[in-house]
Structures are given as structure tokens and as C-alpha cells.
Amino acid sequence: MTKGHRLNIYETRRHLFFTVGIIMVPFVFLLLFSQAFQIPSHRLFFDVLISFSRLAVAYVIAATAGWVLAVSFYRGRRAVIALPIFDVLQSLPVFAVMPFAVFFWGASNFTVIFFLVLAIVWPVFFSIISSMKLVKHDWNEAAQILGLSGFQYIARFLFPVSVPGFITGSIIGLGDGWEALVATEIIVGMRTGMGNFFQSYSHDPAVTSFGVLGFLILIFAINKAVWIPLLDKSHARMEE
């Protein structure tokens, strides 16, 4: 009897150990980096942590909003009306309104998270829409015949079919989010976070270069540890 696995994204124990090793790499790098350039390590780690937290909060909000919007508007008359509107909205140059937002909300976490949400939500939304448009007609009919409705329909049908698009959208959205994160922190003028770190060392090309390298290692590690296995698993689960 083949056993069914629900959330086993790491295929072997070796794969799991390798992944844990990869997660350690950015921490080791940041530690060596802080020692080499005599940067207080607690400051460096704090800046990374605070930026990471802002991005994480923004991601949770954007992913939830993107998913709810996508399952609400992926088909029917609502889709015909709403999708062109969302398409225009995603093209809005959000950074143009940043000074305006800073004027109202100040240099706050709220301002940074607000702009990060705007950067992440659209890739998540459109990837889920694209994933759900590819859902086989037969599956929809089967769900209807089985009598799935309301919460059961959402949890047992809409959610699983949206997962591959959700993962893809998350990878693209977080890529945009990382990019927007540092820029937003610098423009808004935050006193903490990686934006502040790069701003503080803007006169030092070596620190900036190694800082960017550390940043890339961190993103690579997160992708390798979490998103790529999730992407592979989500697509494998939809294979017929």
C-alpha cells in the first residue's frame, strides 16, 4: 500500500539536511561579514530581522488579499468586469505616491508594509488567476456533482487548485518585495532595516558589495529551502 504524504516537500533525509545547511549559510556569512568589517553583529542581524519581519507581514497580507480576490474574480461576469480593472491597478506607478504617503503616515512600518503589499499582491493574484483558468472543466463538473458547496467547495476544491499559482505568484511577488523593500525603507527614511544599513554605509563600496552579496545569499537560501521544494511539490500533486 502506497502511503499518502500531505506536506512532505523534502524527498529524502539527505535533502532535508542539505536544506538546513543552506539556511545556515546566510547566518554564517552575516557573522563573518560583521566581523570582517567591524560592524556590530547585533545591529546587522537586527536590521536583517526587522526588514525580514516587514516583508513577512506584507507577504501574509498580500497573499491573503491576492488569494481572496483571485477566487472571487476568476470566472464569470465578475471576471469580465474586474480583471481589466485589476490589470490597470497593477500597472499604477506606486512609488509616485510614496512622498504623498510619507506625508500622511510618516516614516512608519505601516508605510513600508503598505507599499510592499502593493508590490506583492498583483503577482500573487494574477498567478492564481492563471492557475485557476487552467483547471479542467471536468473537475468543476465533478465538484458540482459531488455536491461541494460553500466552505467545503473553497477548502477542498478552490484551495487545492489554486496552490500551484499561489506558490508561483509568491515566488515572483517576494522577488518584487525584496527589491521594493530596501528602496522603500531608504525613500521612506526608516531608522531601522536593511535600507537604513545600506544608507549608512553608502560611502563604503566594500561593505555595500558584501551587503548585497549577503542579501542575495539570504534570498537564495529561502528560495532553495522553502519555495522551490514547495513549487515542485505543488506541481507534482496536480499531475494526472
Partner: protein, 259 residues
Amino acid sequence: MRAWKNNLFFMNPAISLQQVSKAYTERANGPHNRGLALEHIHIDIMPGEFFVLLGPSGCGKSTLLRIMSGLDVSYEGSVAFGEEASLSRISFVFQQFALFPWLTVFENVELALIARNVSAEARVEKVKNELKLLGLEKSAHAYPRELSGGMRQRVGIARALVTDPRVIFMDEPFSELDSFTAVQLRKELLDIWQKRRPTVVMVTHIITEAIELADRIAVLTQRPGKIKKTFTNSLPRPRHQRSEPFWRLEDELYETLKQ
């Protein structure tokens, strides 16, 4: 068997179709150019009957099945269910199985019971029974992609049976299978139908399949689909394809389809 057949005359139909027509828009020829997929279909299907819709590809037989099952609601005319049957007591077997790939065999079959709020304990028992009936116990925790076509359609049939439906709609359920598997599965389906007696409405374009299974066979015309003729199939079961009455009926159906 004979008593059951005689009783048919006094029963209300399980499904009654009156003047059902279905139009579609031919986009290629402009938005206002409407064609007819089905025209004035009138059928009464009796409870416990095995009814087959036979017709060439594209004649609208699958569309008609979807109208009967409530999957397609844009049609003219009326579809009425008898006392025992209703839209909540129907199930459907799909040509290409329509199993959910993210669920195991067990979970696919269980889903219909979850949707009907059956308790977890009762669900496990019912699903196990159906899997056993269709020889799927050992594949309970496998995913559909790990199964052959024949096994997948067994899961499709188990899923259709688990809610104890009064009407089962089947859309060319054996057309994706190799001939050996199809023969075996038809035999098993017939055994199950004879034990449980649901009303079965099946679509096929294979004449021998229709004769082997059906009590009555409605032959549809090319588009727009109309009922050309309905045959009562009183050959005794099991039906042998090499018997004279079998191939006589086969010839008759073939000639009707050809006209």
C-alpha cells in the same frame, strides 16, 4: 426480472424529458448565428432502468446527459425527476475520470460523503466497502496518477456509487480504456447494477457496448440531435456478442445510425 419489467408500466419515470432543445451560438459565423445542438427530445426513463443514448460523435448525446444531470442549465423544455430520484441523489461517471489529482483514491471516493455531511466513521466504512467491491483496497492511498486507466475508472465508479445514488449518469465511461479492461469493467458494472438497481443513463457511440448493457437504446441523429428511434433490448443476460439475436440487433442499430 419479468415482474420488474411488467412493473415498469405502472411506475412514474425516474427522469422525464419533455421537448428539450439546446441552442448554441456559432461564433465563427457571427454572434447572432444560433445553431441547434438538440431538438425536441422527449424521453421517459424508468426507475432501475439501464438506458443508453447511442449516437455518432458530435450529435449532442453528452450535452443531453449534462442537461439531465443538471450540469448544463441553459436549455429549453423540461427535465423532471421522479419521487426517488432528485438532483441530490445522482452521480456521474466521466469519460476522462475527472479524479482530483491532489487526493488519494480513498479521499476521492470519500469526498462525496463529506459533501453530504456523513460522519467520519460511516464514511470510512462506506468507502472501504466500495473500494473492496471494485478491487481497489490495495490502492486506497495511491494517487490517481499512480494508477492505470482501468483502475482510475474503477475509482470513478466507486465515487459514483458510494453515495448510493438513485440515478447514475455515465459519459462514455469505457472509451478511454483498452478493450480487455473495458470488457471486464462492463461486466462488473452490470453485476453491481443488477444487485443495487439504480437507474443508469449511459452515453456511448459503440453499438456492441449499448447492446451488452442496455434495457433500452435511444439512437440520436446527427446534429441537431433528435431521437431517431428507441429500441427495447430484451435479450437475456449475459449477452453474447456472437449470438444471432445480438448481431441482428447490432445490424438494426447500425442501419438506423447510418440512415
